[in-house]
Every structure is written in structure tokens, then in C-alpha cells.
Amino acid sequence: MKFAVAVYPGSNCDYDTYRVLRDVLDQEVQLIDYRTTDLSGFDCVVLPGGFSFGDYLRPGTLAAHTPLTGTVKEFADKGGLVIGICNGFQILTEAHLLPGALMPNVHGKFVCRHQYLRVENTDNPFTNQCEEGQILKIPIAHHDGNYFVDDETLTKMEENGQIILRYCDEYGNITEEANPNGSIKNIAGITNENKNVFGLMPHPERAAESILGTEDGLYILRSILEIYS
């Protein structure tokens, strides 16, 4: 499988993602500059974490208007797999590839910690290696992860199984205390209607090697590989 990892000015998880895909999962992977307009030959595009364009205006806004993101839209329209991690998730909402918006954390602080997540849906290319209700432990690190979407859209997303991950406690309970940023309904990760575009605030690439304390991110990354195996 061939992955493209987007590189915007200010991306800072690009190389971590590249390394995990190449060295841990043994996949073909290439770093792709934000001015690129050709994604032919790639099976999956990863928009990595970081602070693209310094989070100027709003996180992800300026990156959403680059030539590469325009090409990613065309790629997704044709059914290509796209995963946006943290800032990548913000870029996907700003580019209208995913519904809703990511607002500043409700407590106004940057949050950096290991976080429990409950898998809400497994019928998609990104969590098909998980059990429904499975609890994953994956780090989060963000200032703007407070997911918001209007009630009408949220209902449609829930009916369509687009809510993929929710913040929970270690036993899988969806509580206010377990919500690290104020996200509506504890939402941590969603897909688009067609389920080929996935955005999540947690960092699976930081949870892919035992030396880092958790390998739960591999459930997500291996799910993507499963589609092509």
C-alpha cells in the first residue's frame, strides 16, 4: 500500500507518521509538499498533526486552501482514503471534507496526555480491526479539539455510523470527566458520509511502538492496511 504524508509549513508530526508507516508497518510512504497537485499512485493520504501555517486565522484554515488540499478533495471524491490526525482533522473540517468544526478547548488550556477512547463503529476502513466498544489508549495533544456540530447534522452522523471514537474513562464510560476538551457528545473521531475520510484528535502514530507505552494506535493504522490486503 502506498501512503502520502502531507507536509505543510508548521506540520510537526509528519516525520513521526512517515517513520511509523515505513518502519513499523513496512509500507511504501512518501512525504508530499503542500504545493503538490498530483496524488496519482497513492492509496491513502495522511494529513499529520502540527500547527500548519502557525494556526493563523483558525487552525487548519490556511492549509485547507492550499493546492495539495484541493487535490486531496478530488482524491477523496474519487473514493481515496484520507486520514487527518489532530491538525489534519482541523484541516479536513475547514476544507469541508468533514462536517462540524474544532473550537478551542473549553478550559482554554493545551491538553497533552494519554486518553482512553471507545470505538463506536467498526464498519469503516479505519477501525475494522477493532471490536465495537473496544477501549483504546492513545495520546492526545491539542489546544483546539473541542468538536462542535449542529444537532441536525449530528443526528444524521449518528444514524449513519459516522461517529467512530468517543473520549471515555478506562472502563469505557462516556462521562464529562473523561472529556478532555468539551467536545459535543465526547466525540474524538468521525468520518464523512462515505466513510473514506476520517478525522481524529488522538495521535495513533504516537501509540505504535511498545517503547512509547501503548501500541493501540496500530489498531487504526492496521485497519487501513486491511482494506488493501
Binding site: T61, A101, P104, V106, H107, G108, G182
Partner: protein, 81 residues
């Protein structure tokens, strides 16, 4: 011409900065403070001299980049610079 954009959190959307500033002002003795909204002010200078066209341009700029209407409200005014 100069387009002045005033952007603030949309009504009904929680504004953590506004809430913190509300508390801060109250702690300074401004007990009269009911609520605070913290937003953004953006100046865009354009070559356009036709005000109607500038209005249209401003709306497009807001929609395409400057404002996220899911979470923000905005107003703008156009002045000769």
C-alpha cells in the same frame, strides 16, 4: 477601500475566552459585567473603488476564508481608506 471585519463566537456557542474574561473582570470589581465575547478584528485593504462590489467581495472573503460560520458570526463595514 478598507473592509473591517468583526468576528465573534456564534450565539449559543460556548466562548471559553469570553467566560474567562468575564470572571476576570468581575474579580477586578466590575460586578456589572453580564457577559463577554472575545472575537477577532481583521482589516482588509482592497483596490476596489465601487462600494457595492466591495460588499460582494467582503461576503465572499468571509464565506471562503475569514469566518467559519459553523462557530462564528460576523459583521463588516467598508470605509474609504
Amino acid at each position: 477601500m478598507l473592509i473591517k471585519f468583526f468576528i465573534k463566537p456564534r450565539k449559543g456557542v460556548l466562548d471559553p475566552q469570553g467566560r474567562a474574561v468575564t470572571e476576570n473582570l468581575r474579580s477586578l470589581g466590575f460586578s456589572d459585567v453580564k457577559d463577554v465575547k472575545v472575537g477577532k478584528y481583521i482589516e482588509v485593504y482592497v483596490q476596489q473603488t465601487d462600494k457595492e462590489k466591495a460588499v460582494e467581495e467582503a461576503k465572499q472573503m468571509a464565506k471562503k476564508a475569514l469566518v467559519n460560520e459553523i462557530i462564528e458570526d460576523y459583521e463588516f463595514e467598508i470605509v474609504e481608506d
